[in-house]
Amino acid sequence: MSAVLETRGLWKSFGGLMVTKGLNLSIAPGARHALIGPNGAGKTTLINQITGVLRPSEGSIWLGGANITHLPPDERVRRGLSRTFQINTLFPHLTPLESVTNAICVRKHRQMNLLKRRFTRLSRRISEIDEAYALLEQLNLARDCFVVTHKLAYGKQRLLEMALALVARPKMLLLDEPAAGVPEGESDELFAVLAELPRDISILLIEHDMNLVFNFADRITVLVNGEELVTGPPSEIAVDPRVREVYLGKGH
């Protein structure tokens, strides 16, 4: 089967600094693909190119067999590509219910006529609000759905990150260190949510927590200095001497 997401010969440089060097990444349908690598390997830069925030210097990006290299970010979301952020990137002054309802209305943008979009009260969008509440319930956020986001506990904010990404009904979900900064006691909730994501969502996971990576991923790509070092199943990666060298230094 053809890949859900592909990068072909992707290069990115900032001035003289090469941050992505000829990357050919291919994510299979239903994959749980992890992208690991030391700090500064260019993982987040890659995500920003895939989502359209940054423009690659060379090469192309393909989603579901279509070239999306030159599409604006919002069009990519509409085609089923969404992401979470390493650092909470939420709407601090909206409640979770408003945030998610907002995202749902954006997704349904084309199904609503101008009058509904512009002039009907938000509280009339009953099916959208219902859907938002149901999603928040699924992610254990229902009880906090009226709390202004910036007052939510950190772990809850991480869950809201997930909720906002899931609204787009993604075919391809990019998770940028979903567990970053979550204290150990609170991370179970998040991992449970990750584990339960349906298989029709393909996932590219960036993560530093090797426990999570090896439990979750069925395929791993190691990125070093913007270059693919190796890609393979976890069992191969775990014993690959080159990977050990990158993570532990020479002499091990």
């Binding site: 970010p73 909206l94 219910l97 009260r121 938000l122 906002l164």
Partner: protein, 340 residues
């Protein structure tokens, strides 16, 4: 639709109700508009001044849409106000004296200018935007100044006559007709704007203001939404300008001046941004204070205004409405404590 609503009413709908409460007109809002209507009977000799405050309030509302809700800074919003004012004025001097269609034409012209200029400024950062809006404002001012055959230049555009409103009510010297006209138009425009800010579109706009990176990531077409609100804001400003022309039957060159843009910003900040009413409250306070102070000391009133601005910015975050909101919260908490 009906079926789904019935189904929902059988469930716990607390979350739905909280959204409805947010959208509903609050008693204070209804009181605000009734009070404006009562002014008509309470101060029959001050109606000309009251009209000007309302017009300025509407103009400040238009700024609130892009600054408070859209997060776009501007120092040249008078450009659209002035375009509206001159459009209505020039139409009238060239024989098109019907007020409502004149108003509409002014809104269209200002809106077209807003739409076109939006492409110049939306690409830049805050500083770029300040400079571009400032530049466009100066440009228009000088064009109006030098085309004095057409606009009257510094002498202003004179000889404007406006037909009776609905063919029945003439614009009298005491400003009775024009006050009700301005109030009616302002209320309709406010109600339309309010429903926009409480629609899915308004939520998208608020969310963009809150975090543009996330707004982009959930698929909000950010550029389109900004072009949109900027254009609508220009239309409102154009309406406000036309209202001023029609109620004073005169256009002075300073409708396009930098001072007008700058004072507008001050008013909005005094009143409170992103509140819908901050513009009206700020305009009223600013113009009343200006009126009092300039009576006391016609030369130095700007001194007190400057002081007021500094103190308010430092100690009254969110302007007057922001302060009132916090006061209400404190009182509510205290009442809760008393009951407990």
């Amino acid at each position: 639709m009906n079926a789904s609503r019935r189904e929902i009413s059988n469930r716990d709908t607390g979350y739905l109700k909280s959204m409805q409460d947010r959208d509903r007109w609050k008693p204070a809002e209804i009181l605000f508009w009734i009070a404006l209507l009562c002014l008509f009977f309470a101060f029959p000799t001050k109606l000309v001044f009251a009209s000007q405050i309302l017009i300025t309030g509407l103009f400040a509302l238009s700024l609130d849409l892009i600054l408070g809700f859209g997060g776009i800074v501007t120092l040249g919003h008078a450009a659209f106000f002035g375009l509206g004012a001159y459009t209505a004025g020039l139409l009238a001097t060239h024989g098109w004296q019907e007020p409502l269609t004149g108003l509409l034409a002014a809104g269209l012209v200002a809106g077209a200018a807003g739409y076109l200029s939006s492409f110049l400024l939306l690409r830049g950062g805050d500083l770029t935007r300040l400079m571009i809006t400032l530049g466009i404002g100066l440009l228009l001012y000088e064009i109006a100044n030098s085309a004095s055959d057409f606009t009257g230049g510094v002498d202003g555009l004179q000889g404007i006559e406006i037909d009776k409103l609905f063919g029945a009510f003439s614009f009298d010297l005491y400003g009775r007709t024009s006050y009700l006209y301005v109030l009616g138009v302002s209320f309709v425009l406010f109600a339309v704007t309010r429903s926009m800010m409480h629609s899915p579109y308004g939520l998208a706009l608020r969310s963009f203001r809150d975090n543009s990176t996330r707004a982009l990531a959930i698929g909000i077409p950010v550029k389109a939404i900004l072009t949109n609100i900027y254009t609508y804001s220009a239309v409102l400003a154009g309406f406000a300008g036309a209202l001023l022309t029609q109620s004073t039957q005169f256009v002075s060159l300073d409708v396009l001046s930098f001072e007008r843009s700058a004072e507008l910003l001050i008013m909005l900040i005094i009143g409170g941004t992103a509140t819908m009413y901050g513009g009206f409250v700020g305009a009223a306070v600013f113009m009343l204070v200006q009126d009092r102070l300039s009576n006391i000391n016609p030369q130095y009133w700007n001194f007190w205004l400057g002081l007021l601005l500094v103190v308010m910015t430092l100690y009254l975050r969110g302007g007057i409405l922001g302060g009132l909101g916090r006061l209400a919260q404190v009182l509510a908490r205290r009442r809760k404590k008393d009951i407990a």
